[in-house]
Amino acid sequence: MADKYKHMGSLQINDEYIMGLGDADFAPADKEEKANFIAERKSISYWADAWRRLRKNTVAMVAAAVLILIFLFAFVGPVIVPYSYDEFNAGAENLHPWHYSLEDQARLAEATQALDPDEAVEQARAEAEKAGKKLTPIEEAKIRAKAKASGQITDEEGNVLSGDELNAYMIKKLGIKAKLGGYSNKELERMANGEKVFPHLFGTDRNGRDLMVRTMVGTRVSMIVGVFAALLVLIIGAVYGSISGYCGGKVDAVMQRIVEVIYSIPEVLVILLISMVMNETLKGFVNENRGNVLAELVNLLGSNLIGMFIAFGLLYWVTMSRIIRGQIIQLKEQEYVTAARALGASGGRIIKRHLLPNCMGQIVVTTCLQIPSAIFLESFLSFLGVGVSAPLASLGSMASDALGGLYTYPYRLFFPAIILSVMILSFNLFGDGLRDALDPRLKK
């Protein structure tokens, strides 16, 4: 049989092909053949399509994985670690995230005991020999005089050492190696007796509180604040923005003037004040109404956290409401809205059933990008001492506490600071990925 088309790639049908067709070619298609014609592909919904795009975005998926890890660290971690964030572990104050075994400590203590002058000279001479040098009598006399004068130990260059310097010098000299995890001496003894003791992996603060648990709890506070504040902003912004956009006219004009005024208020100044006021007021409320369900609820959540939510909710919904208003104004001219109105649907129903679901992509993206900014603000307030109050920890307040002993215990700053930055970074990257997936037009 001849080819169907005149030549490769042509759409013109070959004459010979048509002449060669027989009766069988004109028979009606049977069921099987018909079934083959229908494409076996499901139509892809908006969300499935977005999910497919998001899955392809490696950066966003890695960010999501990091967020899940941080989530586990914050919510499952405190269950596993046997310490609590406000528990004072007596005898375990100011631990480093590393420790020296009991034997090493004994050796260190012996070595740092002041030597008597003759021994000091002996030791210096032995060291000099090892290095292939010989001490002059003058140097020997110097060392002897120094050791005699203060009972202190000197290094190779004859400098008198004491305190931390001496310890560091001796640790190096004796070749003592630090071991991972902070343990107090008491805990080391208990371990020697066969007990199992959980290490203080991040060390402890000056009250003996385990810093790892505090970091976990702080991360939890930040995450909760971020997510709930974003949801609060979403609800207020969506309601306000959709009413303003849908009604239009005078209502819109008045509502937008209000938005403009709130928008131009320097929010950080006011938020500092609001969270301070709310914190104190709610504390008073809890103390006066012991046993009241509402008061107990406030107490459970922490008055400071609620204060922060209120402050955030009062001022930050403005951006969200503007975005949603813009979307609604675009959408309300669509035919399906006119149709719904012609069928007698009320304004509330049109907004709820037709308009909001259609700007869902925008809403989800804006909410997701609101989370890091809420975390930012929370840590900022806590760092200034206005956020969560003691004994509850937050990453910001931990960083603030670490400022005092920054040079001795720098990791007290590093751990919370790094977790905070990684968390905000991941939220930002994931939010960006979500934006690209949900609204490809916005991609830059």
Binding site: V261, L269, V277, E280, T281, F380, L384, L406, L425, K444
Partner: protein, 311 residues
Amino acid sequence: MAKYVVKRVLMALLTILLVACITFFLMHAIPGNPWLSDKSPSPEVIAALNAKHGLDKPLHIQLGIYLKNLLHLDMGTSIKMQKNYPVINIIKEMFPVSAKIGIIALLWAVAVGVPLGCIAAYNRGKPVDSVLRIVCTVGISMPSFVTATLLLFTLCGGLAQVFPTMFDGSWQSYVLPCFSLGFYPMCYISRQSRAAMLDAINQEYIKTARAKGLKTNKIIFKHALRNALIPVITYLGPQVAFTLSGGFVVEKVFNIPGLGRYFVQAIPNRDYPVIMGTTIFLATFIVLMNLVVDLLYKLVDPRINLAKGGK
């Protein structure tokens, strides 16, 4: 234009008044009074102190008196932190320090951020672009206190002693605060200008310029950059506010005697006149800056007709 300016100025005044009222009522809503932390005085003493400072009158009358005095630039005197010292003098002494750091920080943020954004946009997709994007994304994920404390630790004695630990007013002690305060805005501005520049490069008039045979440098600087700068200017207004609030943190970390640190200390101290004075001053400053930037925006791009409600 004139109508627009008048409208904006009125709006700004309204905002400042609103902030003053909010601050006033919020401040008095904080339970407790300024005298509590002194050796717990008796009720009679408290009443006498309240009467002396006019705190015994009803709140709305107190507010009225305060606003009337404010019109004469009288912000009262501090009642706790620096007793009987006029608030306006406190502001006069402390604001220049904060302003200096803020201005230098913003200047370097713009001076470095915009060129970096242009470089990234011009080398789109190349390694330079990727490196800059990573740096900037990390930069906008680090709160200023993290940047500031990490710098303090690494360069002020922890690892190396490059800058003085204590703030003493010398130029060296300004370096780190200005750097850490400007880092976040720098990253943000560079991202913004990259996006704006990419947008500008793809416009028709750039094609025309290229078709005319203009040199690349001239196209970039004369045609693309000018238009790309407009979105960056809009961003500067809110950035002033952000830099000020970032200043609170940086002043705390580096122990700088600035207005931000003083404001934060005044709240728990319940020093009412100081809280009022500093809030109103900072708010006025921010609102004015926003106003200036908005008007500037109009000047830079004559196509924008703000009087008719935006672009």
